[in-house]
């Protein structure tokens, strides 16, 4: 019974991905047919340069945002977690989440237009960073608790400089949190549509922007191809997280 339920949940989870993959390979597939008329790789092999440039933009943006947000969040949370003004920092960090990303993008669009950053990759990057950095900060703010602070202090009394404590204690102890934060911020950027389309003014074509463009053009099969590419890295990250983060947590709880 348990197994059947598990397989059903897995099937439910896998169904949209299977549907997308099948749609991207379909020669023709019209309602109410349950399956496509035939299968072909023509939609995959016939991809134009715009697709590869969108893939490169998305990859570059997500990678940069993931690394920058994780580093900035980690370093600033370490500094602010015990600062007298930490409550204010916490309130500020929650602010970008008061609106949906699209509304938030419209709110900040004016400043990007004035500073000539709208329609630029750097503009989209900055807008995504403004959204991802508070997320990383909030994640690490909870991570730098009294226990970690005590560990830092202990390391100092054992003779470690700030740098030595950072590299020998803080980084290794925070390894899982860093990995998790990178994966999350990477995904926020990778899946972002609202900021990319509003701040990018349609000129920064990421995979999500391209997917919506194909949908708008009623080009279902190409939209399925780009959607498949949008889904691939998250699935890879999910698998890596499951393999490394969750497994190490299970090992720790088993040995405790």
């Amino acid at each position: 019974m348990k197994k059947a339920l598990l397989y059903s949940i897995c099937a439910l989870f896998a169904l949209p991905f299977a549907y997308l993959a099948l749609l991207s390979l379909a020669t023709q597939w019209f309602y109410p047919a349950l399956l496509p008329d035939g299968l072909t790789f023509v939609h995959w092999t016939g991809l134009h340069a715009g697709f590869f440039s969108a893939l490169a933009y998305s990859g570059m943006l997500a990678l940069t945002i993931g690394i920058l947000s994780t580093l900035a969040g980690f370093l600033s949370a370490q500094y602010i977690a015990w600062h007298p003004w930490r409550r204010w920092a916490l309130v500020l960090a929650y602010l970008p989440y008061a609106f949906s990303p699209v509304i938030y993008a419209h709110c900040i669009k004016f400043f990007f237009l004035v500073s000539n950053l709208a329609g630029q990759v750097t503009g989209v990057m900055l807008a995504q960073f403004i959204l991802c950095y508070p997320f990383a900060f909030l994640l690490f703010f909870r991570h730098f608790d009294a226990n970690l602070r005590a560990m830092e202090d202990l390391s100092a009394t054992l003779g470690a400089s700030r740098t030595a404590t950072f590299f020998r204690v803080l980084l290794p102890v925070s390894k899982d949190a860093l990995r998790l934060c990178f994966a999350q911020t990477f995904l926020i950027s990778w899946f972002d549509y609202g900021l990319s389309s509003v701040i990018g003014l349609g000129q920064v074509r990421t995979l999500t922007v391209l997917t919506y463009q194909y949908i708008g053009e009623a080009n279902t099969y190409l939209a399925a191809v780009t959607a498949c590419m949008v889904c691939f890295p998250p699935l890879l990250l999910l698998w890596l997280n499951q393999r490394f983060v969750f497994r190490s947590e299970t090992l720790q709880s088993e040995t405790a």
């Binding site: 202090d153 202990l154 100092a156 009394t157 102890v173």
Partner: protein, 242 residues
């Protein structure tokens, strides 16, 4: 010989005085046990001596002023109630932590850590990770990690507070043995009367930011604030009833 000299240590938080002009001396190779209720400033006192908290006053170690030095240059190790073993390092590497910071050559480091593991009775646990140890074993590793760098002064902040009664008694014996063997100078704060009397060569009582050091054990017993009289009267009444 005087090892630690503390003069007019003062600390206040948000207008509230935590330590009020605390002054005392501690002889080398002796343990000062400071008794006090929760929130009386015991931890603040230790953290200021270790350099982990700012405040006013002077601290001398072996005649040298250390209150202006950062914690890593004072030669004072501060041990917490929790063992705080580094979770990513095994027992051997936890103990070797301070020696690696000092860039000790590998053969000498291995020999020293192996000897310490033997003293701690943890030779067979060397490759284990902290999560695989019991509370008492963790605390032993924490002691080993501190003692191996031969600190000038060891500060213990209720180090056995999280242990059960039996393990706690074992750890107290273990500490007494190690302190004697390695000629350790230590300062211990606790709210446990028995622990203070058992472990301290010298006894003090911290109350409302003021530290009183007793010259003799009988003075400590006679002072009603320490609770010693009430404690012995309680046990006497039990004995009489039986």
């Amino acid at each position: 010989m005087k090892l630690l000299s503390v003069q007019k240590l003062h600390k206040s938080f948000a207008g509230k005085t935590i330590l009020s002009s605390v002054s005392f001396d501690l002889e080398a190779h002796k343990t000062l046990a400071v008794l006090g209720k929760s929130g009386c400033g015991k931890t603040t006192l230790l953290k200021m001596i270790a350099g982990l908290l700012d405040g006013s006053g002077e601290i001398q170690l072996n005649g040298n002023y250390v209150h202006t030095l950062p914690p890593q240059q004072r030669g004072i190790v501060y041990l917490y109630q929790e063992a705080l073993l580094f979770p990513h390092l095994n027992v051997f590497e936890n103990i070797a932590f301070g020696l690696r910071l000092r860039k000790m050559p590998e053969p000498a480091l291995r020999e020293k850590v192996d000897n310490m593991l033997e003293d701690l009775g943890l030779t067979t646990q060397a490759r284990k990770m902290p999560t695989q140890l019991s509370g008492g074993q963790k605390q032993r590793v924490a002691f080993g990690r501190a003692l191996i760098i031969e600190p000038r002064l060891l500060l213990l902040d209720e180090p056995f507070g999280n242990l059960d009664v039996e393990t706690r008694a074992n750890m107290q014996d273990f500490f007494k043995k190690m302190a004697q063997q390695q000629q350790i100078t230590a300062m211990l704060v606790t709210h446990d009367l028995k622990e203070a009397v058992r472990m301290g060569d010298q006894l003090g009582y911290l109350d409302a930011g003021n530290l009183h050091i007793f010259d003799h054990l009988r003075d400590f017993i006679a002072d009603p604030r320490t609770g010693m009289l009430a404690e012995s009267a309680f046990w006497q009444s039990i004995q009489d009833a039986v």
